[in-house]
């Protein structure tokens, strides 16, 4: 039986690989380089944010507006896997954001200060707006060590720019009760949906359910409090370093509230857990991505 010792570097490698290959499009960047280039992606601003989170450890939430203008959408119906099961021209229409490309100048240092991170994000949203691509403009808000990238404008159905407000800025209310993690996300999303008049689905951890039953409960309520603030409190109560990415799907005409852990070294939204939960990583855990044939993970 071959034995292995814990090697966190291996875990970082696979997480990084997944981060850089998740959505199509391409990210060209290397540690120490000064430019981040994203080409042909449906959500280049989000992709840049994920890269910045991974590099610098700050939690950066992201919300996109509800796209209405046809010119801001890309018809990918012909790419449906099940296209052949429909008569010609009868396949349901399938759309994704038209997206685009962007380039960002990054500092050469491995770490950035909070003001520098703010400046970097300002550079991101401004360069995106100036590029005249896609159907949304964004702004950056700072909340402690957490940054929020929220929409400020979107094109209406006629292609005219109009101001929009984050759907998470509106107040929500729900009774203070003990709920599981998933129930908590569902409760928040349900209230946000009622406010916004659009369906909002909670997708924690990529929607995947692997591992032990999530029996930990959290007591949370809200009384006319902005949803963004409630989300921050919920994440803090759960004690994990997390961020959210509220993505609009033009095909199902619904929002998907992705709630994922943030990679990196800075403490961010998460703090100490307020309730006991299942252990996540042992002190002498086995390697996450080291198998017997993996020579990069020595015993």
């Amino acid at each position: 039986m071959k034995r292995y010792s814990w090697n966190s570097a291996c875990r970082a490698l696979i997480l990084g690989a997944i981060m850089c290959s998740g959505f199509g499009g391409r990210v060209y960047a290397q540690t120490g380089s000064s430019a981040l280039a994203i080409t042909g992606d449906a959500r280049p601003v989000l992709k840049a944010i994920l890269e910045l989170e991974s590099r610098y450890g700050y939690a950066i939430t992201y919300e996109e507006p509800k796209y209405d203008y046809q010119g801001d959408l890309k018809d990918v119906t012909q790419s449906r896997k099940d296209l052949k099961s429909f008569a010609s021209g009868k396949a349901p229409k399938t759309f994704i954001p038209v997206g685009g490309s962007l380039q960002l100048t990054l500092p050469a240092t491995a770490q950035v200060s909070q003001p520098a991170m703010n400046a970097l994000l300002q550079q991101l949203v401004e360069s995106w707006s100036d590029s005249n691509q896609g159907g949304a403009h964004f702004t950056v808000e700072e909340d402690g060590a957490v940054f929020h990238v929220v929409p400020t404008a979107v094109r209406d159905a006629n292609g005219n720019w109009q101001s929009v407000e984050s759907i998470l800025a509106k107040p929500i209310s729900f009774p203070t009760e003990s709920r599981t993690e998933y129930e908590t996300w569902q409760t928040i999303c349900s209230d946000v949906a009622a406010n916004a008049g659009v369906r909002v689905f909670a997708i924690p951890n990529g929607g995947l359910i692997f591992g032990p039953p999530q029996n930990a409960h959290y007591v949370l309520g809200a009384d006319a409090e902005p949803a963004e603030s409630v989300l921050m409190r919920a994440i803090k109560a759960m004690g994990k370093k997390r961020s959210w990415y509220l993505l609009y799907d033009p095909t199902t005409r619904a929002y998907y509230m992705n709630i994922d852990e943030v990679q990196g070294t800075l403490p961010s939204v998460g703090a100490q857990p307020s309730a006991p939960g299942p252990a996540t990583t042992p002190a002498h855990a086995p390697p996450a991505n080291c198998g017997p044939a993996d020579t990069t993970c020595p015993p």
Partner: protein, 337 residues
């Protein structure tokens, strides 16, 4: 052989003798014919204590499960304590004395100073890799005079030979199959140790990684399952001889994601992740089993499978936004059940 003798002489507490003897075996195999080498590579087990003190999980049949903490002197004298894992006597540690007979067999006696929990003599023979297993017979002198077999396993080093499912639970929100797994052998007490699941190869994603998907794919997480009973522990699995050797593991996908996958025409599709199961062995982890986790999203069903356990298929007829309205009817009937 000079090497062996010197090693034995240098060892003051007897704890390293067998380890050093084993280290000499590769050298012997260079010089001896293959069959002789094999014979040499299966030495008689000399000690019940490979370190200063070893805890043995000891199962008496008929009878109960004991934890024996044993030490052995250079002259073969054994001493230690015996604690019932579960019985009225579990809070009454008893003393153990015995002798190593020099031929791989050991005579042991458990005595109870209080006189309330009986006295038992037994003889076992050590065997197996690392001399980490022992079998034998016992006689209970508490008045019943019963006899039976006894099986001992070194509590620090035994690897599970696998897993077996003992229960299933299926949830609908989120859509999850929950597998209760017992470690094999099921009559061995793995309490106090922990199994961990990892996914070295990440997720083989046939459903979520389309360009423009509103769902951000995540790598499967690392999870640790403490295998202990009681407060703060994880009282899972099927109790065997009064102990628990199981844990619960879930496989599933949130409902909204299933619907989104269907709406954009990606169903049927499959998500697969190979799960490496590890268990802590002394200060290290050893992998003991791989399980393939599979989630298949069909157009009207969803299936979850974990390793060799039977798969679970849901009649998962949630209405997609682009499907025929006819499927809404059975969906409502299904959800109202």
């Amino acid at each position: 052989m000079e090497f062996m003798r010197s090693a034995e002489e240098k060892n003051e507490d007897g704890s390293l003798v067998r380890a050093l003897l084993r280290s000499a075996i590769p050298l012997l195999c260079l010089a001896l014919p293959f069959h002789d080498c094999l014979a040499q590579s299966q030495p008689t087990c000399a000690s019940v204590a490979t370190s200063d003190s070893v805890t043995w999980n000891t199962v008496f049949s008929p009878g109960g499960t004991w934890a024996l903490s044993l030490a052995q002197d250079l002259d073969g004298t054994i001493s230690g304590t015996a604690t019932y894992v579960s019985s009225a006597c579990k809070d009454t540690p008893q003393s153990v004395s015995g002798t190593a007979n020099g031929d791989g067999t050991f005579a042991l006696a458990v005595t109870d100073p209080s006189g309330t929990c009986g006295e038992t003599d037994f003889t076992v023979t050590l065997s197996g890799p690392g001399c980490a297993q022992a079998t034998g017979t016992y006689t209970d002198h508490s008045g019943l005079g019963s006899t039976g077999t006894v099986k001992m396993t070194d509590g620090a080093g035994v690897l599970p030979s696998g897993e077996t499912p003992s229960a299933f639970l299926f949830l609908e929100t989120p859509t999850t199959a929950e597998f209760t797994m017992n470690l094999v052998p099921t009559d061995y007490n793995f309490q106090g140790r922990a199994v961990t699941e990892t996914f070295p190869a990440g997720l083989d994603d046939g459903c979520l990684s389309n360009p423009g998907s509103p769902v951000i794919p995540n790598p499967p997480p690392i999870t640790v399952y403490p295998l202990v009973n009681g407060p703060g522990g994880n009282p899972l699995g099927t109790p065997v001889n009064g102990v628990t050797t199981g844990y619960e593991d879930q496989v599933g996908l949130v409902e909204a994601e299933v619907n989104q996958i269907r709406a954009v025409g990606d169903a049927p599709c499959t998500l697969t992740a190979v799960q490496h199961m590890w268990i802590d062995t002394s200060s290290q982890y050893d992998d003991y089993q791989d399980n393939t986790m599979t989630i298949t999203v069909g157009t009207t069903t969803m299936t979850a499978q974990r390793g060799g356990a039977p798969p679970k298929t849901w009649p998962y007829l949630t209405p997609s936004q682009t499907r025929m309205p006819a499927i809404i009817v059975p969906y409502i009937m299904h959800k109202s059940q």
